[in-house]
Structures are given as C-alpha cells and as structure tokens.
C-alpha cells in the first residue's frame, strides 16, 4: 500500500511562536481570516446584537455547572432529592453551583426570548435568514425542553406536579397523544422511570442536539453577516458616507466579552443573594399544594389553560388551548415563509402580531402571578 503524499510545508512569519507553530501545521491564520474580515454594523440599535452572544455564554455556564452537578447528583426517585440536598448542604459551594445552574437557566431563557423578539422587530428573520430563524426557534424550544426536564431532577413537590401537568398536555393531542405521554413518562404515571428518562434527555440528548444546532446557527450568522434594520439601511442608502461598521475581531469581540462579563456579574449576584430553593420531596400521594404554578416562562400558557372553560362548543377546553398554542407556535416558526418580502406590507401585520404576542405573554404572566 502506498503512503499518501506529504503536505507541502507551510511557512509562517507570525511573531508569536505558538501561532507560528500552529500556522505552519494547519494554516491557523487562514482559519481566522474570515473573522478578521467580518464587520459588525454600528447604529443606534447595535446593542441588540449582544443578546444572542449572551444566550450562548449562559449556555456555556449551564454546561460547566451541569458537569459539576453530575459529580454528586443521583437520578433515582429514592435518591435524587437527597443528593441535591447533599449538594446544597454538605458539598463546599454546592449551593452556589446549583444556584448558578438554576439562575443561568432562567436568564438564558429570558435572553433567548428577548433575542427572538429583537430579531422579529428588527426584521432580521426575513430572506435570506430563514434558516437562521428556524434553527434559532428550534434552539428556543430546546431551551424550554432543558428547563422542563431539568425542573424535575431535584424530585420535589412542585417539580412533580409541573411534570404531571406538562406531560399531560402533549398527552391530549388526538391519536399520538397517549403514546407520546407514555414515551415521555416512561409509563402511565410520573414515577422514578420519568426521572431517569428526563435525566437522560437533560444531560445527553438535548445537549447533543443543542450543540449541533448552535454550531449551525453560528455558521449561518457568519455566512450571512449581521442584519441591519430596514430604517437604518434606508438611511445609509440615502447617505452612503454615514454608514458605520466595526471589525468583528477584536473590536466587537471585546465588547461582547464585556457583555459576558456583565452577565456573569449579574448571574453571580443573583445566585449568591437569592440561592435557588429545594422545596419538599415529591410524594405522589399528597394533593397539589395551593398556589402551585410552573416556571415563569410557562405561566402565560398555564394561566390561559386556567381560564378556558371546560367545554367550548363540542371540544374540551384544554384540548382547544393546547391545539391553539400548537398552531400559533407553528405559525411563529414559519414566519419567514409567511411574511413575504422584507419591505412588504405584510411586515406591518407581523410586527403587530409580535407586539400582541409580547403583550399577551407579559399580561398573562403578570395575571398568573396575581390571580389566586
């Protein structure tokens, strides 16, 4: 068998010996070249560009603190609660690691939602960025999946009932609902089998898919460049010399790092001052406690389901609510394909829809917290 021809040796003139070493072996400078040429538009709405990066940063924090939690956590109905209790009371700084994990999860979902709405209102989702929007929406759903599956892992009362309700919701879908419910729960009821399944989803399946999709999302952003809001685009077109940009590396990158540093500060402050509580151990044979509600990002749906009457015509109210959210979610995912041209009249309608959705989510969330 003949050997493959040797690659021609490269020469590098870089000052840094390590970079020179890397450059001579696989062309380090070539790899960085696209980053050096990439620019970021500078305008009065530029700060919205930071949100995606902050979401990514919080995801990295999740992975790191998640790995630390895995060293002590045990995924079984008999041990899960006790192992989290052990992390919080016996392991040094265990309370802080868990608190950072929980707080960064919540902040990540917040920044992901904020990122999504900013992309919508700045019309960054339209052609040619349909796939960026699609991957982003799937990432948002995955983040919600992370939140939902991770919520059960301490095996406390609130998590137990949240999981009962949350898995019952897809169970209401006609035809596929029941098999889906059994798949999610690992049986008919929420038991230890559900906990081990959710653990598997949370630490293996979801991180794997998410990492791939984040890579695709970032690759698309690199390929397509940053979107400029239409109003700014028009202003720059009318007066080309007024167009301003900054290099991505190092100018924008340094600013992004500063944003991450601020996010880390906020996260540390929240985690230290308001440590995440554990509650009481789940017991399938106690009633749901008064005042029970899901995590804040599900409250708008929870409150809606509470308000829909038992029957709406011939249809069960809950089924109507669930199908309604499903249809709205699907329309939302497909917005770039339904909205038409970036400058078209439909965009006004979509902006109105976005404002309504945001107001509905905020209003229902506040109502959910105030209502009995």
């Amino acid at each position: 068998m003949g050997s493959a021809p040797e690659a021609a040796p490269r020469s590098s003139t870089h000052r840094n010996p390590l970079v020179r070493w890397l450059d001579e072996r696989f062309g380090w400078e070539d790899l960085l070249a696209p980053l050096r040429h990439k620019t970021v538009p500078v305008h009065k709405l530029s700060y919205w560009y930071f949100l995606g990066g902050i979401t990514l940063f919080l995801f990295i924090i999740q992975v790191l603190t998640g790995i630390l939690l895995l060293l002590y956590y045990r995924a079984s109905a008999n041990e899960a609660f006790e192992s989290v209790q052990y992390i919080m009371t016996q392991v040094q700084f265990g309370w802080l690691v868990r608190s950072i994990h929980s707080w960064s999860a919540n902040l990540m979902i917040f920044t992901a939602f904020a990122h999504m709405f900013s992309v919508l209102f700045l019309r960054a989702y339209t052609k040619p960025r349909e796939l960026t929007w699609l991957t982003g929406m799937v990432l948002l759903f995955l983040a919600l999946g992370f939140g939902f599956s991770g919520y059960l892992l301490p095996w406390n009362t609130l998590a137990f009932f949240a999981t009962k309700v949350g898995t019952e919701i897809p169970g209401q879908i006609p035809v596929i609902g029941k098999p889906l419910l059994i798949f999610l729960r690992g049986g008919e009821e929420v038991t230890g089998a559900t906990l081990t399944r959710f653990f598997g989803f949370h630490v293996a399946l979801l991180p794997g898919i998410t990492t791939l999709l984040i890579a695709a999302h970032i690759l698309l952003i690199q390929r397509l460049g940053m979107s400029v809001p239409p109003s700014q685009e028009a202003a720059w077109k009318a007066l080309p010399p007024s167009k301003r940009e900054m290099p991505f590396f190092p100018n924008f990158f340094a600013r992004e790092l500063m944003a991450w540093y601020i996010a880390l500060g906020v996260l540390g402050l929240l985690a230290a001052l308001y440590p995440w509580e554990l509650g009481s151990k789940a017991d399938p044979f106690v009633p749901a406690p008064a005042g029970i509600r899901p995590e804040w990002y599900f409250v708008f749906m929870f409150q809606t389901l509470k308000l829909i009457p038992a029957k709406v015509g011939p249809i069960d109210g809950e089924l109507l609510g669930i199908l309604g959210f499903g249809v709205v979610g699907l329309i939302w995912v497909l917005l770039p394909f339904l909205g038409g041209d970036r400058y078209g009249r439909r965009q006004v309608f979509i902006r109105g829809l976005g404002v309504f959705a945001l107001a509905y989510m905020l209003g229902m969330t506040v109502y959910g917290y105030l209502a009995k």
């Binding site: 690992g186 044979f285 009633p287 029970i292 829909i308 009457p309």
Partner: protein
C-alpha cells in the same frame, strides 16, 4: 441495481431502527392494587375533612362530609392530571393546579375540568373504611 441497493439500505435501516423504537416504549406495568382498599380507620377522619389514600399506584380521595357520611373518588383531576384535595371552607373538592372544583359526588362544577372524577363505593367493615371500585366502571 439501484432499487436493490436502495431496498437493502432501507431494510437495514429498518432493522436498526425497529428495536430502538420498541426499546423506547416502556413495558406495560400491571397495577396490582386490586379493586378495594382500606382507605382509613374509623375515627381517623373528623367530619368535614378529607385524606388522600393509595389505590393501587394511584391516589384516591376519601371525604368525611359535615354530616359524617363517607365519600370516595379518584384524586386525579380530569383536567391535567394534578392531585385534588378536599376544601373544608367551601365543602368541595378542589384542584390547586388550575382552580377546578368538583362536588362531593365527584361532579365537575367549576373551572376547567371537563369530566367528573371516578367515584368509588365506601363501606365500613369493623374498624376499617373500605373503598372499592363500583362494578361496571
């Protein structure tokens, strides 16, 4: 040739995926709870109170009404599966999750629950309050 190749690839994909698909569906668990259970001891429940009892793998609700009568029903809300409780202040069965109400016969009377709770028969046998499934349900 292409059909053969494609068919072969498809067959091997199916032979890999079918066991995975079956593996994902958990084996059916048998509920060995039986048709009746001792839900409480006589005198355990005061009038106008209730308790959750274990009926096989599922929770049931035993209520002693203000008149001292026993009522029993499934404790699983028909809306979205939460566990209900007896509210002595309104003398009704309440689901805290979505604010659903049932009367003491298990009938859904307010809020989102679409169906009544399954009601059980109760009889006192010596010291035991025995709850059993109604025949034909």
């Amino acid at each position: 040739m292409q059909v053969l190749l494609g068919g072969g690839l498809l067959a091997s994909a199916v032979s890999f995926l079918y066991p995975v698909w079956r593996y994902l569906v958990p084996p059916v668990a048998t509920d060995l709870g039986g048709d009746s259970v001792v839900a409480a001891k006589v005198g355990e429940l005061k009038a106008n109170s209730g308790k959750i009892f274990r009926f096989g793998s599922r929770p049931g609700l035993l209520v002693r009404t203000a008149d001292g009568e026993y009522r029993a029903m499934s404790a699983i809300c028909t809306h979205l599966n939460c566990t209900v409780q007896y509210r002595s202040d309104v003398r009704e069965v309440w689901c805290a999750c979505h604010n659903g109400f049932y009367d003491l016969n298990g009938r859904n009377i307010a809020g989102p629950p679409p169906r009544p709770l399954e009601s059980y028969a109760v009889h006192v046998n010596g010291d035991d309050v025995v709850v059993s499934r109604r025949r034909g349900t």
